[in-house]
Symmetry: C2
Amino acid sequence: MADQKKMVEAITSMEEDFAQWYTDIVKKAELCDYSGVRGCMVLMPYGYAIWENIQKELDARFKETGHENVSLPMFIPESLLQKEKDHIAGFAPEVAWVTHGGSEKLTERLCVRPTSETLFCDHYSRVIKSYRDLPKLYNQWCSVVRWEKTTRPFLRSVEFLWQEGHTMHETAEEAVQETERMLGIYADFMENILAIPVIKGQKTDKEKFAGAEATYTVEAMMHDGKALQSATSHYFGDGFARAFDIQFSGRDNKLHTPFETSWGLSTRVIGGIIMTHGDDNGLVLPPYIAPIQLVIIPVAGHKPGVTEKAQELYARLQKICRVKIDTSDNSTGWKFAEYEMKGVPLRLEIGPRDMENNQCVLVRRDNREKTVVDLDQLEVQIPMLLRAVHEGLYQKAVKNRESKTYTATNMADLTQIAAEKPGFIKAMWCGDLACEEALKEKAGVSSRCIPFDQEQIADTCVCCGKPAKQMVYWGKSY
Amino acid sequence: MADQKKMVEAITSMEEDFAQWYTDIVKKAELCDYSGVRGCMVLMPYGYAIWENIQKELDARFKETGHENVSLPMFIPESLLQKEKDHIAGFAPEVAWVTHGGSEKLTERLCVRPTSETLFCDHYSRVIKSYRDLPKLYNQWCSVVRWEKTTRPFLRSVEFLWQEGHTMHETAEEAVQETERMLGIYADFMENILAIPVIKGQKTDKEKFAGAEATYTVEAMMHDGKALQSATSHYFGDGFARAFDIQFSGRDNKLHTPFETSWGLSTRVIGGIIMTHGDDNGLVLPPYIAPIQLVIIPVAGHKPGVTEKAQELYARLQKICRVKIDTSDNSTGWKFAEYEMKGVPLRLEIGPRDMENNQCVLVRRDNREKTVVDLDQLEVQIPMLLRAVHEGLYQKAVKNRESKTYTATNMADLTQIAAEKPGFIKAMWCGDLACEEALKEKAGVSSRCIPFDQEQIADTCVCCGKPAKQMVYWGKSY
């Protein structure tokens, strides 16, 4: 790390090769390392610290809304996975199978959980007896495995970290409300913590979760115009509960079946952070999840008192933000580049002349704007500047999305836009699977979501010309 | 939960059947549920909340001492597991093997990690180049799998949650210091947070970790006199580093091999908490990890103002402790029994007469001692009483251990004590494996540890009569 001779190597430019730019950042910002296991990542300290901050923010929101954490097994017996037929059909092709324990062959093979609806239902079938046991509002933080063929760090890996909430309710109405509440929490978190604007909406039947009645999503647009499904919230009705024979005695003393939801967000959002905010100098981290919010770099640190002053500020500023100091013998230029690469939102420079004037320079990572700040004002200025970086990132992302969102009312236009301009295409849809498949085949776009905020762009389906039911966002996705 | 008619059922008494008493508590305090997967547990909200508090306390200690969290894959390719021969010999019989991904047979099978030395070494071989990259002080919170035949909740399960620290150092001396530092952190945590007294010592070669040069342990005695190995810290020398070809350029510009440690603590300690502190009324939780530290129970809650006063206290006391209020329509007697079962350290009772006198009653879970406290004094009295419960639990556990620790200087005595009195036996040992095995065969005891605090009980080995090297604690263990 602190090798004096080490240079901060340039990364591939975004415009030149976005995929390579992404890979360069993941590696050079030391977020993760490839492992000896195909498609599995090592989350290194800096990458994992981002995830810890994400966990802290989300976990607090889950607990505030009455959810409790639990831990379920990582294995699912094959017979359990098969209980809900749409679910097994969706997941069977991509699960890892344990067939041996020690030297013995198992009588029933176990899959490593790709998601845990079946395990939660199995548990719920034992603990839900009465309406007094409802709602059950459980969440777990864990990793899951999906045997993906092509993988990319954070975006698609064989094993990934996530949280999965699984809840059971007395009525369908309550369960639907829960699904919406959690989607709202995700949207709030994406926008107000990660500075990533999202579109809230519903997935089409083709794109919904295996076994769900309805899947809701928050969709974000990356810098290159592609979509990232950032978190989902599913309403299951009573399908799983029936398959698992979960019943409770209701207020009327009769037996009823409860209604279920699940919702999840994964380390995939770290890929979203990189691709929404990053630039040609490296990572740009939204301040509220940045492991280091401010780095102090003494300028001309060998001059009398400079390093001491920087250390004094370091001790003082720990009370208001996550702060680091770099007093190594690397050059100042190297340090500037290094912490830009790591996406640290604010840099504090202090040198001999600054000290004379009882001031320092604060530099924003997002736009490199410099502010000269009186040392007595740091406790006021730093939180304001962190907020400003957050706002700056959010507005930039909104602007990117707006500039790359198009409208199409016929297939010719839609196909041309899809071919020439990466981004979202808003177009009307009749609701037929055939048209959805035609758009995929002819224009290479999939439905991202049916947004809650509907617009009446036209009266007819962009594909077949029949009366339109909904406006849909179409695009290419990660 | 809140079913009015539900009674708090009695649990089996400890003296009658300790194993059944343990199982009853795990179930009735709602710590965990058996799952549909053999030997795997569901950690329910109350059990998981204990683990979250354990994590919070330990994680803070790890970070204070410079450790960083990471996340490594859950799979280990067979060839990687085989790189260190003692390690594979120790773990191969108890790992779960993944042989298929989706519908395809894997070209190399993967085991689900039983521990992650091999994965950390694989990663370290890529990131350690120079002495400037050392030390590496990594930890991860995850679950591991060991294909155990006989399982018991918390104490021995196929999958369990733990943390595993894995560190690399420039010199053997530094690595040894790290091993000792972490053992010290575990001992401090066990005693000052969990109120469980421990003996710090070294494991014999027979009992040490597969692949380690030395294993250090903190051993606790349960209420029934059996030992629980509560956490371990291993020194590996450079064995793994050599097997994985990890080399760094040193201060002398020559290539060197680094020195390694690992250390871990698991959900097993929750079993230790139950068996150290529990009693015939249920769980007794040490205050500093109790999910609920104080429960407020309004007495005659239907009388004017009582419930309101209790609610007011509830809002107020959230600032100083983890507090719950039970205003359900269950009877007061039921509530008392329920929160005793759940091991809540303090109960606050408030009724009409208390209100008249501006006071309430605080009842300790550990000894049922009641204190009448002026309502204005709660912020002072509650922390003091929580501390007193902690101290009371710790002293009781020390007393139990002292009363069940024996000394033997010959085999006849040792065998008789082992047969008649459950507990620790202190006896001298020559250091030979043959004697260790003889004690196991003849007296049914294993070496628990070679304590750092040595006593010269005799000059000769309790078994063979040859000159003794060390005093060892012997006993039966979980």
